[in-house]
Amino acid sequence: MTALTTKFGGDGGRGAGDGKPPASILLSASAEDHHIARMAAVALGLTVLEAAIPSPLPGVKPGLANIVVLIVLARYGWRAAAWVSLLRVVAGSLLMGSFLAPGFFLSLVGALLSLLVLAASRHLPQRWFGCVTHSILAAFAHIAGQMLVVYLWLIPHSGIAYLLPIFAAAALVFGTINGIIAARFIASNADCPPIT
């Protein structure tokens, strides 16, 4: 997929040899770009909504935006899901004012690891494994990535291991719920393009 296609006016560009700068830069968005932007916007809305929910422990969040990522994964494939997930992390951090703060890197690494796991888990036989499996595996990958960053960078003390069972339990519960919600959405829109 080409997210951004640059078109230079005239025969501009460095190799042309006439020394003139390009007259204009045109960014054209494909239909898929629009899809991704729409889904990322929904994910962003959920991110902001979720920030208003009080949490008993910093880091324990429902991760509602991941429902969108799961739906995109099922409908448009892994690349689109990766775009939506990473766009949500970057734009979400801009909205919440945490861009480049520790929390940003926590969610970035969590999202990256989740995407890696999703890339593997979508090859599981679809007859037996559905959205819920993907969701749970991604949730565990997310929390694993975050704990890794916390341990290697923020709090290099073995004491954080005490929190691991709590985070893992939260990942299991919210992963299951998100997976069921995503599966309901996918099942209720049978007219959508088939799962790739």
Binding site: W128, A144, L148, S158
Partner: protein
């Protein structure tokens, strides 16, 4: 027709596997591995490493004076310390691996460690 989305067979398996791993994590990490050694630091450097098997009284020098550390019955505590607020003394007895008492003003700390380091289970 409104039907609750049925989980696929593998999904139940994943939920079960997740449950087992959560329970396993809780049992492995919350069992409170008993400590067998105490690391005493002064000014950020290791002052002494002592076994918890023998009772002892250790005096550790710091910038404000000396802190007294007692070891009894596989437990350790800071008995007295010249720090103004006495946080580390009030912390009482430490017995599980990973527990730590720090007297910041006097730059003395005591940390309990036990057999296998806990964070080994974090090495993904």
């Amino acid at each position: 027709m409104f039907v609750l989305y049925p989980l696929k067979v593998g999904d139940y398996f994943t939920v079960l596997a997740g449950l087992i791993s959560v329970v396993w994590l809780a049992m492995a990490l919350w069992s409170g591995a008993t400590a067998d050694k105490a690391i005493i630091r002064s000014g950020g450097k290791i002052f002494r490493e002592v076994s918890l098997l023998e009772n002892a009284e250790i005096s550790v020098p710091g910038p404000l004076g000396s802190s007294i550390i007692s070891i009894q019955n596989h437990q350790a505590r800071i008995t007295s310390d010249p720090s103004p607020r006495q946080y580390c003394v009030r912390q009482g007895w430490l017995k599980n691996a990973g527990e730590i008492a720090i007297c910041l003003p006097n730059q003395v700390s005591i940390e309990l460690t036990g057999g296998p380091k806990k964070y080994d289970s974090l090495n993904y």
